[in-house]
Protein backbone atom coordinates (compact mmCIF):
# COMPACT_ATOMS: atom_id res chain seq x y z
CA UNK A 1 0.00 0.00 0.00
CA UNK A 2 2.83 2.34 0.83
CA UNK A 3 4.49 1.59 -2.53
CA UNK A 4 2.36 3.75 -4.78
CA UNK A 5 2.51 6.70 -2.47
CA UNK A 6 3.82 9.00 -5.20
CA UNK A 7 0.90 8.22 -7.48
CA UNK A 8 -1.89 9.04 -5.10
CA UNK A 9 -5.28 9.78 -6.44
CA UNK A 10 -6.38 13.39 -5.73
CA UNK A 11 -9.20 12.29 -3.42
CA UNK A 12 -6.70 10.10 -1.58
CA UNK A 13 -4.43 13.12 -1.20
CA UNK A 14 -7.29 15.13 0.21
CA UNK A 15 -7.93 12.44 2.78
CA UNK A 16 -4.26 12.37 3.69
CA UNK A 17 -4.23 16.14 4.08
CA UNK A 18 -7.34 15.99 6.23
CA UNK A 19 -5.73 13.32 8.37
CA UNK A 20 -2.70 15.52 9.06
CA UNK A 21 -4.90 18.50 9.83
CA UNK A 22 -6.80 16.43 12.38
CA UNK A 23 -3.53 15.22 13.91
CA UNK A 24 -2.43 18.83 14.35
CA UNK A 25 -5.79 19.90 15.80
CA UNK A 26 -5.84 17.00 18.27
CA UNK A 27 -2.32 17.68 19.43
CA UNK A 28 -3.09 21.39 19.68
CA UNK A 29 -6.23 20.92 21.79
CA UNK A 30 -4.46 18.58 24.17
CA UNK A 31 -1.09 20.27 24.47
CA UNK A 32 -1.79 24.00 24.35
CA UNK A 33 -3.70 24.13 27.67
CA UNK A 34 -0.99 22.10 29.39
CA UNK A 35 1.82 24.25 28.00
CA UNK A 36 -0.18 27.37 28.86
CA UNK A 37 -0.22 26.18 32.46
CA UNK A 38 3.56 25.81 32.41
CA UNK A 39 3.93 29.30 30.91
CA UNK A 40 1.57 30.86 33.45
CA UNK A 41 3.54 29.39 36.29
CA UNK A 42 6.58 31.28 34.99
CA UNK A 43 4.94 34.66 34.37
CA UNK A 44 5.16 37.81 36.44
CA UNK A 45 1.81 38.86 38.00
CA UNK A 46 1.56 41.92 35.74
CA UNK A 47 1.63 39.66 32.64
CA UNK A 48 -1.62 37.98 33.65
CA UNK A 49 -3.70 41.09 33.23
CA UNK A 50 -2.37 41.92 29.77
CA UNK A 51 -4.97 42.35 27.09
CA UNK A 52 -4.48 40.71 24.62
CA UNK A 53 -2.93 37.94 26.67
CA UNK A 54 0.56 36.67 25.97
CA UNK A 55 1.26 32.99 25.62
CA UNK A 56 4.94 33.18 26.48
CA UNK A 57 6.11 34.98 29.62
CA UNK A 58 7.88 38.25 28.88
CA UNK A 59 10.19 37.64 31.79
CA UNK A 60 10.69 34.15 33.11
CA UNK A 61 10.38 34.06 36.87
CA UNK A 62 10.62 31.24 39.36
CA UNK A 63 9.25 33.32 42.20
CA UNK A 64 5.91 31.47 42.33
CA UNK A 65 7.68 28.20 42.89
CA UNK A 66 10.01 29.83 45.39
CA UNK A 67 7.17 31.28 47.44
CA UNK A 68 5.21 28.03 47.28
CA UNK A 69 8.09 26.18 48.84
CA UNK A 70 9.06 28.84 51.37
CA UNK A 71 5.83 30.53 52.49
CA UNK A 72 3.32 27.78 51.78
CA UNK A 73 4.07 24.31 53.05
CA UNK A 74 4.16 22.83 49.58
CA UNK A 75 6.87 20.34 50.39
CA UNK A 76 4.71 18.99 53.19
CA UNK A 77 1.66 18.74 50.93
CA UNK A 78 3.76 16.88 48.41
CA UNK A 79 5.08 14.41 50.98
CA UNK A 80 1.57 13.96 52.34
CA UNK A 81 0.29 13.13 48.87
CA UNK A 82 3.21 10.80 48.29
CA UNK A 83 2.63 9.01 51.61
CA UNK A 84 -1.10 8.67 51.04
CA UNK A 85 -0.70 7.41 47.49
CA UNK A 86 2.09 4.92 48.16
CA UNK A 87 0.58 3.44 51.32
CA UNK A 88 -2.86 3.26 49.72
CA UNK A 89 -1.52 1.59 46.58
CA UNK A 90 0.62 -0.89 48.48
CA UNK A 91 -2.10 -1.98 50.90
CA UNK A 92 -4.66 -2.06 48.09
CA UNK A 93 -2.59 -4.38 45.93
CA UNK A 94 -1.93 -6.81 48.79
CA UNK A 95 -5.46 -6.95 50.18
CA UNK A 96 -7.20 -6.57 46.83
CA UNK A 97 -5.36 -9.35 45.02
CA UNK A 98 -5.64 -11.61 48.08
CA UNK A 99 -9.38 -11.12 48.19
CA UNK A 100 -9.76 -11.56 44.43
CA UNK A 101 -7.80 -14.80 44.49
CA UNK A 102 -9.80 -16.10 47.42
CA UNK A 103 -13.09 -15.23 45.74
CA UNK A 104 -12.07 -16.85 42.48
CA UNK A 105 -11.02 -20.11 44.16
CA UNK A 106 -13.94 -20.40 46.55
CA UNK A 107 -16.10 -21.81 43.77
CA UNK A 108 -18.98 -19.57 44.73
CA UNK A 109 -22.36 -20.27 43.25
CA UNK A 110 -23.28 -18.17 40.26
CA UNK A 111 -25.77 -16.29 42.34
CA UNK A 112 -23.31 -15.50 45.14
CA UNK A 113 -20.65 -14.37 42.68
CA UNK A 114 -23.23 -12.13 41.07
CA UNK A 115 -23.93 -10.51 44.41
CA UNK A 116 -20.22 -9.93 44.97
CA UNK A 117 -19.73 -8.30 41.58
CA UNK A 118 -22.83 -6.19 42.09
CA UNK A 119 -21.37 -4.97 45.37
CA UNK A 120 -18.15 -3.94 43.61
CA UNK A 121 -20.03 -2.08 40.90
CA UNK A 122 -22.16 -0.40 43.51
CA UNK A 123 -19.16 0.76 45.55
CA UNK A 124 -17.51 2.09 42.44
CA UNK A 125 -20.47 4.15 41.28
CA UNK A 126 -22.63 5.16 44.21
CA UNK A 127 -22.33 8.88 44.96
CA UNK A 128 -19.34 9.11 47.29
CA UNK A 129 -20.62 12.39 48.58
CA UNK A 130 -23.12 10.29 50.57
CA UNK A 131 -20.43 8.88 52.81
CA UNK A 132 -18.27 11.91 53.41
CA UNK A 133 -20.35 13.11 56.36
CA UNK A 134 -20.16 9.71 58.07
CA UNK A 135 -16.41 9.68 57.30
CA UNK A 136 -16.08 13.05 58.94
CA UNK A 137 -18.00 11.84 61.98
CA UNK A 138 -16.14 8.51 62.20
CA UNK A 139 -12.73 10.11 61.89
CA UNK A 140 -13.66 12.67 64.51
CA UNK A 141 -14.63 9.88 66.88
CA UNK A 142 -11.46 7.93 66.14
CA UNK A 143 -9.48 11.10 66.69
CA UNK A 144 -7.97 10.73 63.23
CA UNK A 145 -9.35 13.96 61.80
CA UNK A 146 -6.70 15.86 59.86
CA UNK A 147 -4.19 12.99 59.72
CA UNK A 148 -2.86 11.23 56.64
CA UNK A 149 -4.20 7.97 58.11
CA UNK A 150 -7.74 9.23 57.79
CA UNK A 151 -7.12 10.03 54.12
CA UNK A 152 -5.50 6.64 53.55
CA UNK A 153 -8.45 4.84 55.16
CA UNK A 154 -10.86 6.86 53.07
CA UNK A 155 -9.02 5.97 49.87
CA UNK A 156 -8.69 2.29 50.78
CA UNK A 157 -12.46 2.04 51.01
CA UNK A 158 -12.62 2.87 47.30
CA UNK A 159 -9.44 1.34 45.88
CA UNK A 160 -9.64 -2.10 47.53
CA UNK A 161 -13.06 -3.02 46.10
CA UNK A 162 -12.00 -1.60 42.73
CA UNK A 163 -8.78 -3.62 42.52
CA UNK A 164 -10.47 -6.76 43.86
CA UNK A 165 -12.99 -6.42 41.07
CA UNK A 166 -10.27 -6.01 38.41
CA UNK A 167 -8.17 -8.89 39.70
CA UNK A 168 -11.15 -11.20 40.12
CA UNK A 169 -11.56 -11.30 36.35
CA UNK A 170 -7.85 -12.09 35.97
CA UNK A 171 -7.88 -14.97 38.44
CA UNK A 172 -11.14 -16.36 37.10
CA UNK A 173 -9.49 -16.69 33.69
CA UNK A 174 -6.48 -18.53 35.12
CA UNK A 175 -6.73 -22.30 34.58
CA UNK A 176 -6.83 -24.32 37.74
CA UNK A 177 -4.36 -26.89 36.39
CA UNK A 178 -1.48 -24.47 36.99
CA UNK A 179 -1.93 -24.78 40.70
CA UNK A 180 -2.49 -28.52 40.80
CA UNK A 181 1.18 -29.37 40.77
CA UNK A 182 1.78 -27.15 43.77
CA UNK A 183 -1.26 -28.62 45.44
CA UNK A 184 0.24 -32.11 45.26
CA UNK A 185 3.42 -30.75 46.83
CA UNK A 186 1.28 -29.78 49.77
CA UNK A 187 1.75 -26.02 49.40
CA UNK A 188 -0.73 -24.01 51.44
CA UNK A 189 -3.04 -21.65 49.58
CA UNK A 190 -1.01 -18.67 50.71
CA UNK A 191 2.27 -20.21 49.52
CA UNK A 192 0.67 -21.12 46.22
CA UNK A 193 -0.60 -17.61 45.77
CA UNK A 194 2.64 -15.87 46.62
CA UNK A 195 4.99 -18.23 44.76
CA UNK A 196 3.02 -19.03 41.63
CA UNK A 197 -0.08 -16.96 41.02
CA UNK A 198 0.99 -13.49 42.06
CA UNK A 199 4.18 -13.45 39.94
CA UNK A 200 2.30 -14.88 36.96
CA UNK A 201 -0.21 -12.07 36.98
CA UNK A 202 2.35 -9.31 37.52
CA UNK A 203 1.27 -7.24 34.48
CA UNK A 204 -2.33 -7.11 35.68
CA UNK A 205 -1.12 -6.27 39.17
CA UNK A 206 0.89 -3.41 37.67
CA UNK A 207 -2.17 -2.11 35.84
CA UNK A 208 -4.24 -2.24 39.00
CA UNK A 209 -1.51 -0.52 40.98
CA UNK A 210 -1.32 2.30 38.46
CA UNK A 211 -5.06 2.88 38.46
CA UNK A 212 -5.16 2.79 42.27
CA UNK A 213 -2.32 5.28 42.55
CA UNK A 214 -3.98 7.67 40.08
CA UNK A 215 -7.22 7.45 42.04
CA UNK A 216 -5.50 8.19 45.29
CA UNK A 217 -3.21 10.98 44.05
CA UNK A 218 -6.02 12.84 42.27
CA UNK A 219 -8.71 12.30 44.90
CA UNK A 220 -10.27 15.45 46.30
CA UNK A 221 -13.68 14.78 47.86
CA UNK A 222 -12.68 12.54 50.78
CA UNK A 223 -9.47 14.42 51.46
CA UNK A 224 -11.32 17.71 51.60
CA UNK A 225 -13.81 16.38 54.13
CA UNK A 226 -11.32 15.07 56.66
CA UNK A 227 -8.29 17.34 56.41
CA UNK A 228 -7.95 20.85 57.72
CA UNK A 229 -4.29 21.80 57.92
CA UNK A 230 -1.76 19.15 58.89
CA UNK A 231 -2.83 16.40 56.52
CA UNK A 232 -3.44 18.67 53.53
CA UNK A 233 -2.68 16.90 50.28
CA UNK A 234 -1.94 18.49 46.90
CA UNK A 235 -5.52 18.33 45.62
CA UNK A 236 -6.63 20.44 48.58
CA UNK A 237 -3.75 22.84 48.09
CA UNK A 238 -4.72 23.37 44.45
CA UNK A 239 -8.38 23.88 45.33
CA UNK A 240 -7.51 26.35 48.08
CA UNK A 241 -6.52 28.98 45.52
CA UNK A 242 -10.07 29.10 44.24
CA UNK A 243 -11.80 30.43 47.30
CA UNK A 244 -8.99 32.89 47.99
CA UNK A 245 -9.82 36.50 47.42
CA UNK A 246 -7.97 37.88 44.41
CA UNK A 247 -6.64 34.73 42.83
CA UNK A 248 -2.89 34.45 42.62
CA UNK A 249 -2.64 33.07 39.13
CA UNK A 250 1.06 32.35 39.18
CA UNK A 251 1.00 30.35 42.36
CA UNK A 252 -2.18 28.58 41.35
CA UNK A 253 -0.57 27.54 38.05
CA UNK A 254 2.63 26.45 39.77
CA UNK A 255 0.78 24.42 42.39
CA UNK A 256 -1.39 22.75 39.75
CA UNK A 257 1.70 21.86 37.77
CA UNK A 258 3.44 20.43 40.83
CA UNK A 259 0.43 18.21 41.29
CA UNK A 260 -0.06 17.00 37.72
CA UNK A 261 3.52 16.70 36.47
CA UNK A 262 4.42 13.47 38.32
CA UNK A 263 1.26 11.80 37.01
CA UNK A 264 1.81 13.02 33.44
CA UNK A 265 5.31 11.55 33.45
CA UNK A 266 4.09 8.39 35.12
CA UNK A 267 1.37 8.00 32.48
CA UNK A 268 3.89 8.38 29.67
CA UNK A 269 6.25 5.80 31.16
CA UNK A 270 3.60 3.27 32.14
CA UNK A 271 1.18 3.99 29.31
CA UNK A 272 0.83 0.35 28.30
CA UNK A 273 -0.31 -0.74 31.75
CA UNK A 274 -2.57 2.26 32.16
CA UNK A 275 -4.37 1.55 28.89
CA UNK A 276 -4.59 -2.16 29.72
CA UNK A 277 -6.09 -1.45 33.10
CA UNK A 278 -8.64 0.97 31.73
CA UNK A 279 -9.82 -1.20 28.86
CA UNK A 280 -9.84 -4.20 31.08
CA UNK A 281 -12.12 -2.58 33.58
CA UNK A 282 -14.62 -1.44 31.00
CA UNK A 283 -14.53 -4.01 28.25
CA UNK A 284 -14.11 -7.16 30.30
CA UNK A 285 -15.26 -6.26 33.78
Amino acid sequence: MELNKSKQHPSQMLITALYYILVVISAFVVLVPIIYLVMNSLKLPRDFLKVPPTFLPEVVTLKHYASLFTKAKTLKYFTNSLTVTSVTTFVTIILGSFAAYGLSRMKLSKHALGMVIFTFLFIRFYPKVTTIMPYFIIMRKLNLLDTVWAVILGHLGITIPFVTWLMLVVYNDLPYSIEEAALVDGATPIQRFLMIIFPMTAPSVASSAILASFMSWNEFLIASSITRRDATVLSIAVASFVSDKGIQWGQMAAMSLIMILPMLLFALVAQKYLVNGLTFGAVKG
Binding site: L37, F48, G102, F118, T131, T164, V242, M259, L268
Partner: protein
Amino acid sequence: MSTKIRQKDKELSSWLIFILPALLVVILLQLYPLIYSLFLVFQDWKLTESPEPKGFIGLWNLINIFKNDVFRRSVVNSLIISGTAVFFELIIGLSLAYLFNKERRLNSIVRTLILLPMVIAPVAAGTLWRMMLNGRAGLVNHILSFINIHGPNWLADPQWSLVSVILLEIWQFTPFVMIISAAAITSIPKSLREAASIDGAGRLMTFKNVDLPLLAPTLALTMIFRVLESLLSLDSIYSLTFGGPGYSTYTLTFFIYNEGLRSFNFGQAAAASWLFMIFTSLCIVWVFRFQNKDK
Protein backbone atom coordinates in the same frame (compact mmCIF):
# COMPACT_ATOMS: atom_id res chain seq x y z
CA MET B 1 -4.89 -35.88 41.55
CA SER B 2 -6.84 -37.37 44.39
CA THR B 3 -10.30 -36.02 44.83
CA LYS B 4 -9.67 -35.79 48.54
CA ILE B 5 -7.08 -33.04 48.22
CA ARG B 6 -9.25 -31.27 45.70
CA GLN B 7 -12.20 -31.47 47.98
CA LYS B 8 -10.21 -30.01 50.82
CA ASP B 9 -9.01 -27.22 48.56
CA LYS B 10 -12.54 -26.20 47.87
CA GLU B 11 -13.27 -25.74 51.52
CA LEU B 12 -14.47 -22.28 52.27
CA SER B 13 -12.53 -21.81 55.47
CA SER B 14 -9.10 -21.99 53.85
CA TRP B 15 -10.03 -19.18 51.48
CA LEU B 16 -11.78 -17.05 54.02
CA ILE B 17 -8.46 -15.76 55.31
CA PHE B 18 -7.79 -14.28 51.87
CA ILE B 19 -11.02 -12.40 51.85
CA LEU B 20 -11.32 -11.33 55.44
CA PRO B 21 -9.12 -8.19 55.40
CA ALA B 22 -10.78 -6.76 52.31
CA LEU B 23 -14.18 -7.68 53.67
CA LEU B 24 -13.43 -5.80 56.86
CA VAL B 25 -12.42 -2.74 54.87
CA VAL B 26 -15.65 -2.87 52.89
CA ILE B 27 -17.76 -3.27 56.01
CA LEU B 28 -16.02 -0.57 58.03
CA LEU B 29 -15.39 1.95 55.28
CA GLN B 30 -18.38 1.46 53.01
CA LEU B 31 -21.20 -0.42 54.64
CA TYR B 32 -21.05 1.34 57.98
CA PRO B 33 -20.86 4.87 56.54
CA LEU B 34 -23.67 4.06 54.12
CA ILE B 35 -25.96 2.86 56.89
CA TYR B 36 -24.97 5.84 59.01
CA SER B 37 -25.92 8.23 56.23
CA LEU B 38 -29.24 6.43 55.79
CA PHE B 39 -29.83 7.00 59.50
CA LEU B 40 -29.05 10.69 58.99
CA VAL B 41 -31.78 10.98 56.34
CA PHE B 42 -34.37 10.73 59.11
CA GLN B 43 -32.57 12.88 61.67
CA ASP B 44 -32.88 16.53 62.48
CA TRP B 45 -29.25 17.59 62.54
CA LYS B 46 -27.36 20.71 61.74
CA LEU B 47 -23.87 20.61 63.17
CA THR B 48 -24.02 24.35 63.62
CA GLU B 49 -27.00 23.97 65.97
CA SER B 50 -26.05 20.86 67.92
CA PRO B 51 -23.05 18.51 68.19
CA GLU B 52 -25.31 15.43 68.18
CA PRO B 53 -28.42 14.55 66.12
CA LYS B 54 -31.51 16.21 67.59
CA GLY B 55 -33.83 13.30 66.90
CA PHE B 56 -36.04 11.53 64.44
CA ILE B 57 -38.00 13.78 62.11
CA GLY B 58 -39.54 11.28 59.76
CA LEU B 59 -39.59 12.28 56.13
CA TRP B 60 -39.14 16.00 56.67
CA ASN B 61 -35.61 16.10 55.29
CA LEU B 62 -36.85 14.52 52.07
CA ILE B 63 -39.88 16.79 51.86
CA ASN B 64 -37.79 19.89 52.47
CA ILE B 65 -35.23 18.87 49.89
CA PHE B 66 -37.90 18.65 47.22
CA LYS B 67 -39.04 22.13 48.16
CA ASN B 68 -35.50 23.43 47.86
CA ASP B 69 -35.08 25.48 44.66
CA VAL B 70 -31.32 25.10 44.62
CA PHE B 71 -31.67 21.32 44.82
CA ARG B 72 -34.06 21.25 41.88
CA ARG B 73 -31.83 23.51 39.88
CA SER B 74 -28.82 21.32 40.71
CA VAL B 75 -30.60 18.24 39.41
CA VAL B 76 -31.42 19.96 36.13
CA ASN B 77 -27.84 21.27 35.80
CA SER B 78 -26.41 17.82 36.48
CA LEU B 79 -28.57 16.24 33.81
CA ILE B 80 -27.68 18.93 31.27
CA ILE B 81 -23.96 18.74 31.99
CA SER B 82 -23.63 14.96 32.07
CA GLY B 83 -25.98 14.34 29.17
CA THR B 84 -24.36 16.85 26.83
CA ALA B 85 -20.79 16.06 27.82
CA VAL B 86 -21.13 12.29 27.51
CA PHE B 87 -22.93 12.63 24.17
CA PHE B 88 -19.99 14.55 22.70
CA GLU B 89 -17.42 12.38 24.41
CA LEU B 90 -18.88 9.30 22.74
CA ILE B 91 -19.01 10.84 19.28
CA ILE B 92 -15.58 12.46 19.40
CA GLY B 93 -13.98 9.54 21.24
CA LEU B 94 -15.26 6.99 18.74
CA SER B 95 -14.19 9.16 15.78
CA LEU B 96 -10.71 9.62 17.22
CA ALA B 97 -10.43 5.89 17.83
CA TYR B 98 -11.14 5.23 14.14
CA LEU B 99 -8.97 8.10 12.98
CA PHE B 100 -5.86 6.93 14.84
CA ASN B 101 -6.58 3.22 14.74
CA LYS B 102 -4.11 2.07 12.07
CA GLU B 103 -0.76 0.88 13.34
CA ARG B 104 1.69 3.57 12.37
CA ARG B 105 4.16 5.59 14.27
CA LEU B 106 2.45 8.95 14.14
CA ASN B 107 -0.80 7.38 15.31
CA SER B 108 0.77 5.84 18.37
CA ILE B 109 2.36 9.19 19.27
CA VAL B 110 -0.97 10.99 18.88
CA ARG B 111 -2.76 8.32 20.87
CA THR B 112 -0.30 8.80 23.70
CA LEU B 113 -0.77 12.59 23.61
CA ILE B 114 -4.54 12.34 23.65
CA LEU B 115 -4.30 10.22 26.77
CA LEU B 116 -2.79 13.05 28.80
CA PRO B 117 -5.84 15.10 29.82
CA MET B 118 -7.32 12.04 31.46
CA VAL B 119 -4.51 11.63 33.98
CA ILE B 120 -4.60 15.27 35.05
CA ALA B 121 -6.21 15.65 38.46
CA PRO B 122 -9.71 17.07 37.85
CA VAL B 123 -9.13 19.75 40.46
CA ALA B 124 -6.05 20.96 38.55
CA ALA B 125 -7.85 20.65 35.21
CA GLY B 126 -10.37 23.06 36.71
CA THR B 127 -7.77 25.68 37.60
CA LEU B 128 -6.15 25.19 34.20
CA TRP B 129 -9.38 25.91 32.32
CA ARG B 130 -10.20 28.71 34.69
CA MET B 131 -7.17 30.47 33.27
CA MET B 132 -7.85 29.40 29.68
CA LEU B 133 -11.45 30.66 29.82
CA ASN B 134 -10.86 33.93 31.61
CA GLY B 135 -12.98 36.46 29.72
CA ARG B 136 -10.38 39.20 29.41
CA ALA B 137 -6.99 37.62 29.65
CA GLY B 138 -7.76 33.99 28.78
CA LEU B 139 -6.19 32.17 25.87
CA VAL B 140 -9.45 30.81 24.48
CA ASN B 141 -10.95 34.20 23.70
CA HIS B 142 -7.60 35.34 22.34
CA ILE B 143 -7.54 32.41 19.92
CA LEU B 144 -11.17 33.05 18.98
CA SER B 145 -10.29 36.66 18.18
CA PHE B 146 -7.94 35.41 15.43
CA ILE B 147 -10.98 34.15 13.55
CA ASN B 148 -12.90 37.32 14.39
CA ILE B 149 -15.09 35.84 17.08
CA HIS B 150 -15.69 37.94 20.12
CA GLY B 151 -15.65 35.29 22.82
CA PRO B 152 -18.14 35.40 25.69
CA ASN B 153 -17.25 36.03 29.29
CA TRP B 154 -17.25 32.29 29.88
CA LEU B 155 -17.15 31.92 33.62
CA ALA B 156 -19.07 35.06 34.56
CA ASP B 157 -22.10 34.35 32.41
CA PRO B 158 -24.78 31.91 33.73
CA GLN B 159 -25.24 30.11 30.42
CA TRP B 160 -21.65 30.13 29.23
CA SER B 161 -20.37 28.90 32.57
CA LEU B 162 -22.49 25.79 32.08
CA VAL B 163 -20.93 25.42 28.63
CA SER B 164 -17.50 25.84 30.21
CA VAL B 165 -18.10 22.97 32.61
CA ILE B 166 -19.23 20.80 29.71
CA LEU B 167 -16.18 21.74 27.63
CA LEU B 168 -13.84 20.84 30.47
CA GLU B 169 -15.57 17.51 30.93
CA ILE B 170 -15.27 16.74 27.21
CA TRP B 171 -11.61 17.77 27.13
CA GLN B 172 -10.77 15.55 30.05
CA PHE B 173 -12.73 12.39 29.40
CA THR B 174 -12.99 11.99 25.65
CA PRO B 175 -9.63 10.14 25.88
CA PHE B 176 -11.27 7.50 28.05
CA VAL B 177 -13.94 6.84 25.44
CA MET B 178 -11.25 6.76 22.77
CA ILE B 179 -9.22 4.11 24.59
CA ILE B 180 -12.21 1.88 25.21
CA SER B 181 -13.50 2.27 21.65
CA ALA B 182 -10.06 1.58 20.18
CA ALA B 183 -9.85 -1.68 22.13
CA ALA B 184 -13.32 -2.67 21.02
CA ILE B 185 -12.60 -1.82 17.38
CA THR B 186 -9.44 -3.93 17.41
CA SER B 187 -11.39 -6.88 18.69
CA ILE B 188 -13.75 -6.89 15.69
CA PRO B 189 -12.79 -9.91 13.57
CA LYS B 190 -11.15 -8.83 10.30
CA SER B 191 -12.94 -11.57 8.42
CA LEU B 192 -16.29 -9.90 9.05
CA ARG B 193 -15.18 -6.66 7.45
CA GLU B 194 -13.61 -8.50 4.54
CA ALA B 195 -16.81 -10.41 3.99
CA ALA B 196 -18.71 -7.15 3.96
CA SER B 197 -16.36 -5.56 1.44
CA ILE B 198 -16.56 -8.64 -0.81
CA ASP B 199 -20.32 -8.23 -0.70
CA GLY B 200 -19.70 -4.75 -2.08
CA ALA B 201 -20.39 -2.75 1.06
CA GLY B 202 -18.72 0.65 1.19
CA ARG B 203 -16.88 1.88 4.27
CA LEU B 204 -19.91 3.61 5.69
CA MET B 205 -22.10 0.56 5.12
CA THR B 206 -19.51 -1.67 6.77
CA PHE B 207 -19.40 0.66 9.74
CA LYS B 208 -23.17 0.71 10.04
CA ASN B 209 -23.81 -2.98 9.52
CA VAL B 210 -20.69 -4.66 10.87
CA ASP B 211 -18.86 -2.38 13.31
CA LEU B 212 -21.68 -0.57 15.03
CA PRO B 213 -23.72 -3.62 16.12
CA LEU B 214 -20.54 -5.19 17.50
CA LEU B 215 -19.46 -2.00 19.26
CA ALA B 216 -22.89 -1.21 20.63
CA PRO B 217 -22.63 -3.18 23.90
CA THR B 218 -19.25 -1.63 24.76
CA LEU B 219 -20.44 1.84 23.81
CA ALA B 220 -23.58 1.47 25.90
CA LEU B 221 -21.56 0.40 28.92
CA THR B 222 -19.05 3.21 28.39
CA MET B 223 -21.92 5.65 28.18
CA ILE B 224 -23.41 4.54 31.51
CA PHE B 225 -19.99 4.50 33.18
CA ARG B 226 -19.27 8.00 31.95
CA VAL B 227 -22.68 9.37 32.91
CA LEU B 228 -22.35 7.98 36.42
CA GLU B 229 -18.80 9.22 36.84
CA SER B 230 -19.69 12.60 35.46
CA LEU B 231 -22.64 12.93 37.83
CA LEU B 232 -20.30 12.15 40.72
CA SER B 233 -17.62 14.63 39.76
CA LEU B 234 -17.07 17.50 42.10
CA ASP B 235 -13.44 18.56 41.86
CA SER B 236 -13.45 20.16 38.44
CA ILE B 237 -16.54 22.25 39.15
CA TYR B 238 -15.15 23.19 42.53
CA SER B 239 -12.07 24.74 40.97
CA LEU B 240 -13.54 25.92 37.66
CA THR B 241 -16.69 27.77 38.72
CA PHE B 242 -17.35 26.87 42.36
CA GLY B 243 -20.97 26.43 41.34
CA GLY B 244 -21.19 29.98 40.17
CA PRO B 245 -21.98 32.53 39.04
CA GLY B 246 -24.86 32.37 41.49
CA TYR B 247 -26.20 28.85 41.36
CA SER B 248 -25.81 28.46 37.63
CA THR B 249 -23.32 25.58 37.72
CA TYR B 250 -24.47 23.93 40.93
CA THR B 251 -24.58 20.21 40.28
CA LEU B 252 -26.18 17.61 42.48
CA THR B 253 -22.84 16.51 43.88
CA PHE B 254 -21.76 20.09 44.45
CA PHE B 255 -25.05 20.86 46.18
CA ILE B 256 -24.73 17.91 48.55
CA TYR B 257 -21.10 18.75 49.25
CA ASN B 258 -21.97 22.33 50.07
CA GLU B 259 -24.97 21.42 52.16
CA GLY B 260 -23.04 18.78 54.12
CA LEU B 261 -19.54 20.09 54.54
CA ARG B 262 -19.90 23.84 54.30
CA SER B 263 -23.33 24.44 55.85
CA PHE B 264 -23.03 21.29 58.00
CA ASN B 265 -26.69 20.59 57.32
CA PHE B 266 -26.19 16.85 57.66
CA GLY B 267 -29.82 15.72 57.56
CA GLN B 268 -30.64 17.61 54.36
CA ALA B 269 -27.42 16.55 52.67
CA ALA B 270 -28.03 12.91 53.54
CA ALA B 271 -31.55 13.11 52.18
CA ALA B 272 -30.36 14.60 48.90
CA SER B 273 -27.58 12.06 48.54
CA TRP B 274 -29.90 9.13 49.12
CA LEU B 275 -32.24 10.38 46.44
CA PHE B 276 -29.21 10.57 44.19
CA MET B 277 -28.24 7.07 45.30
CA ILE B 278 -31.58 5.60 44.24
CA PHE B 279 -31.05 6.92 40.75
CA THR B 280 -27.48 5.62 40.45
CA SER B 281 -28.50 2.27 41.92
CA LEU B 282 -31.02 1.84 39.13
CA CYS B 283 -28.29 2.56 36.59
CA ILE B 284 -25.99 0.05 38.29
CA VAL B 285 -28.69 -2.62 38.25
CA TRP B 286 -29.07 -1.95 34.56
CA VAL B 287 -25.29 -2.25 33.94
CA PHE B 288 -25.23 -5.44 35.94
CA ARG B 289 -28.08 -7.07 34.05
CA PHE B 290 -26.53 -5.95 30.81
CA GLN B 291 -23.17 -7.51 31.64
CA ASN B 292 -24.73 -10.76 32.79
CA LYS B 293 -26.81 -11.03 29.64
CA ASP B 294 -23.58 -10.61 27.72
CA LYS B 295 -22.02 -13.62 29.37
